[in-house]
């Protein structure tokens, strides 16, 4: 085997934004229309943009490279080029040996087939032979922990079970190059541990791993080296800790257009709770975020994204009007748009930064961004640490003393204490 597992050499990828005719009904009138009159397309709509510029890196067997960056930095595009789903506009890339991608592990599943049938289907899609799948079938089923449900159609599975089955198939492909993209966010704690162990195994077996994540803790733990992307350009490349530090220090990506002259800008963001307080919140309280936009030119297909950063500027939550089911909206010049997000602050003690951005996904343009839009301090009763507050309480506790074999029951909940007593009496 050669000494390089992945090599990207000056890879560029260009996307075209603006009008795309996706039906003949639209295309034919547009073609004839263009013959008779020169249609005015706005300059920004006609422009092409580079999703990736001059991306070069190498990964050696047994090495793990992390790719980090904000949304729209080009991480997914890089992975898609690497897994050959997209062709680079310019540049060369080389992958030595079998590539396996944990990008969308459930992509090959069919809802109406059983878990077992789906293992065969997905395994074949991921490049395994039928014999190979048969030999690993028991292992895969055991890994997923779905022995009981393996002959049930996967449409009856919960989303966690679905993802677990997908991951167990993908994890049993013996790859020379493994691409992992944010899949560790699925499944419960035990399953995540299994996945991390599996990734370590793959690394130990001498395969190269490419890891994309927003979770800096996992990236720091896993990756030897890191690459920081911003708007398609490589900002920094080197030892993981150093690159992560750069990423966290970096305030944020700059809006693609100047916010005062741009087509649309965020004119105000206000954070408040029920009583009008805007800085100090209690865990579990509701927080309202009022956003106001002002449009200067016509802006189609807009959506407002609201996200929370923790004190290390790591994004811990993100949502958008589009994703919340309100779709995208069009603004005409002079229009004002207002919306209010409501969030339950299931957060532990700490400082958080609510932020807002205006992004159009179909043409990958950031119009305006307020980061941070506000600073809030969340306080809880002190029983919780970490990022989220799960409102815990102890409902049962017992110690079996070896000396007198006497059971001692302590419970905060009087109901469970009583139950415990009655059991002892019986």
């Amino acid at each position: 085997m050669s000494d390089v597992a992945i090599r990207m050499e000056h890879v560029y990828k260009k996307f075209r934004k603006g009008e795309v005719y996706n039906s003949l009904r639209d295309l034919l009138p547009a073609l004839t229309g263009r013959m008779f009159q020169q249609e005015e397309l706005s300059e920004t709509d006609r422009r092409e943009f580079w999703a990736l510029q001059d991306l070069s890196f190498e990964v050696k067997p047994g090495e793990c490279l992390g790719i980090i960056g904000h949304n729209g930095a080009g991480k997914s595009t890089a992975l898609k080029i690497l897994s050959r789903i997209m062709k680079p506009t310019k540049g060369r890339m080389l992958v030595n040996g079998r590539l396996s991608a944990l990008i969308e592990v459930t992509a090959g599943f069919h809802q109406d087939l059983t878990g077992r049938e789906n293992i065969f289907l997905n395994g074949t899609i991921l490049g395994m032979s039928k014999r190979e799948i048969e030999s690993k079938l028991d292992q895969m089923i055991a890994f997923s922990g779905l022995e009981e449900f393996i002959d049930t159609p996967v449409k009856r599975y919960s989303s966690g079970m679905f993802a677990r089955l997908g991951f167990s198939v993908a994890a049993h492909v013996d790859p020379d190059v493994l691409i992992v993209d944010e899949v560790l966010s699925v499944g419960d704690h035990v399953f995540q541990q299994k996945c991390i162990e599996r990734m370590r195994e793959v690394l130990r077996s001498g395969a190269a791993v490419l890891f994309v994540s927003h979770n800096m803790k996992t990236v720091a733990e896993f990756c030897h080296r890191c690459l920081l992307l911003d708007k398609g350009k490589t900002v920094n490349q080197g030892p993981a800790e150093k690159v992560i530090a750069t990423y966290l220090q970096k305030p944020s990506m700059q809006p693609a257009v100047d916010s005062n002259t741009g087509p649309v800008r965020i004119s105000s963001v206000r954070v408040r709770n029920e009583t009008g307080e805007s800085i100090r919140f209690e865990s579990g309280q509701k927080m309202w975020v009022d956003v106001e936009l002002a449009a200067h030119t016509r802006c189609p297909r807009m959506s407002v994204t609201m996200y929370l950063l923790d004190q290390n500027l790591v994004e811990i939550f993100e949502t958008s009007t589009d994703r919340l089911g309100h779709g995208t909206f069009d603004l005409e010049p002079g229009d004002t748009y207002r919306c209010t997000f409501e969030l339950h602050l299931n957060l532990a003690d700490g400082t958080y930064f609510p932020s807002v951005l205006l992004y159009r996904y179909d043409i990958q343009t950031l119009y305006d961004q307020c980061e941070p839009a506000a600073t809030i301090y969340v306080s809880s009763d002190g029983g919780a640490r970490g990022i989220v507050h799960c409102f815990p309480r102890v409902i049962h506790q017992e110690i079996c003393r070896a000396a007198d074999a006497r059971l001692a029951g302590i419970a905060k909940d009087p109901a469970s204490l009583r139950r415990f007593d009655s059991e002892e009496c019986a």
């Binding site: 039906s23 789903i85 039928k130």
Partner: protein, 261 residues
């Protein structure tokens, strides 16, 4: 192109798997199970019989066994053509997840759709064989033409299938246009009637490359004749041109699939 064909061969396991999935899902979903494969051909045969009956009434003759056999024999290949073009047209759009997420030669989807339709044809052929035995229409050596005709039809379907699959990925209304052609195509193809009815003008009808193939089925099975060889050669050439052209067209557009779907 040699490299691409080699890659397709390498992924043949996946091709069978996707075809198997399509068949399995189709039969699992429908309460009727295997009757599904028979339903469409039976409907076509019945409508053919009605049309033939109308002819006979107009000509003041009676409906012949040979007429029914001819309609039945031509209906099955027609049903196969319609279902393979219909399913391959939708094959890429319906597998959006796989097209955008995982790399493999994407012609697998239309080809698998055609294999699945071919499976339906085999099931229906079993039923047809019983029907023809019951009629009965007798045997002849000309029947050995049938596999060759079938192969030509499969190649033709594959070529068209790849073209409409790729085109419908780029233009969302292609599937409606294809549907219209599939619905009315039966009037431009000798399924219910015989080419010979047209006398001198038959050649215009035979320009449709499907016509000589279907007419051939009627000739070699129902009428115990040899197919019209010059016109059949024309069909074979058309099928090969469509197959190669369709493949090149598909492969040319393939790199843009993930971005355009």
């Amino acid at each position: 192109m040699k490299e691409e064909l080699h890659e397709l061969y390498k992924y043949r396991g996946l091709l069978y798997m996707i075809a198997y999935r399509d068949i399995k899902v189709r039969y699992k979903q429908s309460i009727m199970g295997f009757l599904w494969a028979i339903l469409m051909p039976v409907l076509i045969v019945l409508s053919g019989v009605v049309v033939r009956f109308a002819y006979a009434m107009a000509a003041h003759t009676s409906l012949q066994t040979a007429d029914i056999a001819s309609v039945a024999v031509k209906s099955l290949p027609w049903a196969f053509l319609v279902s393979s073009i219909r399913f391959s047209c939708l094959s890429l759009i319906n597998n959006k997840e796989l097209v955008t997420k995982i790399y493999f030669p994407k012609e697998i989807f239309p080809i698998a759709a055609i294999l699945a339709s071919f499976f339906d044809l085999l099931v229906a052929s079993g039923a047809l064989a019983l029907f023809l035995l019951a009629l009965p229409i007798g045997w002849s050596l000309y029947m050995v033409w049938a596999p060759a005709l079938l192969l030509t039809l499969v190649l033709l379907a594959t070529g068209i299938g790849m073209i409409v699959a790729a085109a419908s990925l780029y233009f969302r209304d292609v599937k409606f246009i294809v549907e219209v052609f599939l619905t009315f195509g039966i009037f431009f193809t000798p399924v219910f009637y015989e080419v010979s009815l047209f006398g001198e003008k038959a050649k215009w009808l035979l320009l449709n490359p499907v016509s000589p193939i279907l007419d051939g089925f009627g000739a070699c099975i129902a009428r115990h004749q040899s197919p019209n060889l010059p016109w059949l050669t024309y069909s074979v050439i058309s099928a090969l041109v469509l197959l190669i052209g369709g493949y090149v067209f598909f492969k040319h557009l393939e790199p843009g699939f993930a971005e355009s779907i």
